[in-house]
Symmetry: C2
């Protein structure tokens, strides 16, 4: 049943890696059928899927060809963070990013905002309005601390897509993924404990470790396959690590999807050293390939994985609805949920449950995935065109964030300051590190429908970066 | 300008304390004018206010008389908790209370639910519905971590009623008062620190201390004037206390309002020993006397008071909108807010801001206050009628909770179990103590519009308590 998926994935990966070049002819349906021992229709299904994803195009009577996309910039280097536990810094930079009210005169490339203007979200707004008109006013009452049962049932159904079989009783609804992360970390760790993280890593998760008094041990990460298992194993050998915190599917900020085999190997490592895994899956449903990748949680048999997610990236962040499937830590997470916020805002829970039950979730997410994939291609092009030569760029497999690496000596804090005057905001790289690494990197959001305004903003980023680089060299 | 208020307050207190008995004639307007050196019209204003509150009634040509309310049961004793720092227990009992989804076949006397069926709440629901229909969909975007500015402006205006002058920039919107409490505690304390609390005390605040690894030092509390300042001073002398956590206005569960002079004295103590004060004001606007009492925060000059509140009791808890005015701890609270939930659900914030700006808040709260005051009188009557002789009952000055004290040997956990079979739920006293004190006490909610069903439920509580008492004696 999933043979065609495996085949499509393999071919897609080869194209992404440049083994088949743009314009090149791909193996014939027959050849692949023989080579892989699958039926002709399986190969055809795989090609159709790649076609849907825009990677290949059929030419009448001559087979499938790699679509002619522009030559891609080089990928970022494998990261090299300091491999010892550190106290986390960078709160001031994060605060600057999250404190301000977005100004309409600034193009926001810095924040983690999805596009909420799609007509496929309309039924959600309709549900919200209807709930406010209901006589019994369900939105006004205290919810129980687990969260609304109708919503938990729908979440449990969605989680089947990633291979997870959980019951609604195994889920706790939270105020966004933020609360899922903080309740999970507090459920597992005590202040002073060491947590291993993929690096770079979402600043919210990092600041949570800081706020709770943990130390972060940043593990080198490959921009296409994720956290280095070899480095992680060495760290587990050397330090009393309590928790491994990762975003393996459509990583923020790097955009990779950790291959299935590596996810399993990660779990095996965690079992061997008896540590818990916090898996942040907030972008998982936005993987460009269908079906979405499985979670580490889907392989978990002894409840050591706490899966955290939310509807902030798939639907809308202002609703603040997330969840955690905490495995064996359920009781502790419930306590932390109770003391953190008591219970979760009710009306958005009910509206989202309606939206999913009404069959609107998958069409919406499908639509957004292809919009974001186009956004990635365009923004990568713009970076190739407008940024200084030698700039490296991530190749996201899902989500809506691009990671850009400038020459080692570059300082994106200065860049950001210069850009704010010009009405553009980026996320500086240093907030994605516990110790202020990645100062030469930046992250840009390509969620919004592509426009001349956004292209102009990206161009400003690139040209300002070039100017700062030239100034730097002439100073030196 | 507030002379008449002071006079009304003094007369009201004397009536409450039984110095003037039901049916007794009160001093003449002229006599009071001479005695207090105020104008005749000031005295008349004071009497009119007491009349509005149902405490006095004019009789033509003969002056004002104390209204003929039934003889009140005795007040609870001053509490005597263990006066040393303890680890907090009782999580299982709290979980039992907050985990379940309310069953329609059970009369819920146990939870902290206000009445949300008042027509004066309708404009709020209208705003919620309108927001969902707006083209620009403001509810879908990430808020900044401070909270919506329009709402913060309205909260700053409301806080003037309690004597507080804060700017919107001094406020952080939170997911209910729960989050206000937990961010505040974490902003001030480290795990292992000692926090002094009024006792009995709201179980949520207590469990927050537990979850964050603090120790609670329970201070004896008077059922009419609040925390014992003498005992508190001894404790401050003896232990390295970091924080004093109190609910001084319309206390949950005891219902008292700490007199203004004692609030000031408390602040002086905190200054002398240089500790912070966490003031929970979640019921403050529901004080039966108008204007509402000042907060400790209103006297604070060096930013050591963190005021926590929410709209959960005045409007509706399902909205999950609270706030904190953290004084000098603003930066730390912002960090804790960021890691706890990132930002707060947007739509309810906007709807509440509309509701207050539209002038609907004060009329609604006025209406609820008088409903709750009637509820208190009725439920006190029912307890006097149906409960075992010797039962003591609090005399709440605001809010909607009655605290009932049975004989010392009584066990309300057993009572609760027996009652659940009969379709009634109460809050057992032990969850209001860090160390499981108050097992012989219980708390009942009188927010709902009085009905025969509720009277029948209270009667069941009383009669079941009597039966258990008799069984106990015959066993012994
Ligand atoms: C990886 C990751 N986890 C969690 C979050 C927070 O999600 P939420 O807005 O649901 O709290 C984000 C959002 O920026 C994120 O990028
Ligand atoms: C004294 C006190 N503080 C705080 C809370 C929690 O309020 P919220 O529902 O806004 O989190 C309650 C509610 O039970 C309470 O009684």
């Amino acid at each position: 049943m999933t043979l065609y998926l495996n085949l499509a994935e393999m071919l897609g990966a080869r194209i992404e890696q440049g083994l088949y070049r743009p314009g090149q002819r791909l193996p014939s349906v027959r050849a692949l059928s023989v080579e892989h021992g699958v039926s002709l229709s399986t190969v055809q299904q795989a090609y159709r899927m790649l076609e849907d994803n825009g990677l290949v195009a059929p030419r009448p009577k001559s087979g499938y060809f790699v679509t002619d996309h522009r030559s891609l910039p080089a990928l970022p280097a494998v990261t090299r963070p300091a491999q010892r536990p550190v106290e986390i810094s960078q709160w001031e930079q994060v605060l600057e990013l999250v404190r301000g009210t977005p100004r309409p005169d600034v193009v926001q490339l810095g924040r983690g905002m999805p596009d909420v203007n799609s007509p496929s979200l309309k039924p959600l707004l309709r549900s919200l309005a209807q709930l406010s008109r209901r006589q019994d006013m369900p939105g006004l009452y205290y919810d129980n601390i687990h969260g609304n049962i109708a919503l938990r049932e729908q979440i449990a159904r969605l989680m089947l897509d990633s291979g997870c079989h959980v019951s609604p009783a195994d889920l706790v609804v939270t105020t966004g993924c933020h609360e899922a992360l903080s309740t999970s970390i507090r459920a597992v760790c005590e202040p002073g404990d060491i947590v291993a993280v993929d690096s770079p890593s979402f600043h919210g998760a990092m600041q949570t470790l800081k706020g709770l008094g943990m130390k972060a041990l940043e593990i080198p990460t490959d921009p296409t396959t994720g956290i280095s298992l070899e480095a992680l194993e060495m760290a587990l050998e050397q330090w009393p690590i309590k928790l491994i915190q990762i975003t393996p599917s459509c990583n923020n900020p790097l955009g990779y999807i950790m291959p299935e085999a590596r996810k399993k190997a990660l779990l095996t490592l965690a079992q061997r050293y008896d540590v818990a895994i916090l898996e942040d899956d907030v972008y998982g449903d936005l993987a460009y390939n269908y079906p979405r990748p499985p979670t580490v949680k889907s392989f978990d048999e002894d409840g050591r994985v706490l899966l955290c997610s939310s509807f902030s990236k798939t639907l809308a962040p202002g609703l603040r609805i997330g969840w955690v499937a905490p495995g064996r830590y359920l009781e502790r997470v419930l306590h932390m949920k109770y003391i953190g916020t008591g219970s979760t805002c009710v009306q958005p829970q009910l509206a989202i449950a309606d939206f999913i039950a009404g069959g609107h979730y998958h069409p919406h997410v499908r639509r957004m995935r292809s919009q974001y994939q186009r956004g990635r291609d365009l923004m990568s092009d713009w970076v190739a065109r407008y940024f200084p030569p030698g700039t490296r760029v991530s190749r996201p497999q899902g989500g809506f964030m691009l990671w850009v690496e400038l020459p080692e000596s570059f300082d994106t804090l200065r860049l950001n300051r210069a850009l704010l005057e010009q009405g553009v905001q980026i996320a500086v790289g240093s907030i994605f590190s516990a110790s202020g690494k990645y100062r030469h990197c930046l992250r840009m959001n390509y969620a919004a429908r592509p426009s001349a305004e956004i292209e102009a903003a990206v161009r400003k980023v690139g040209e300002t970066a070039l100017r700062l680089l030239v100034d730097h060299h002439s100073e030196a």
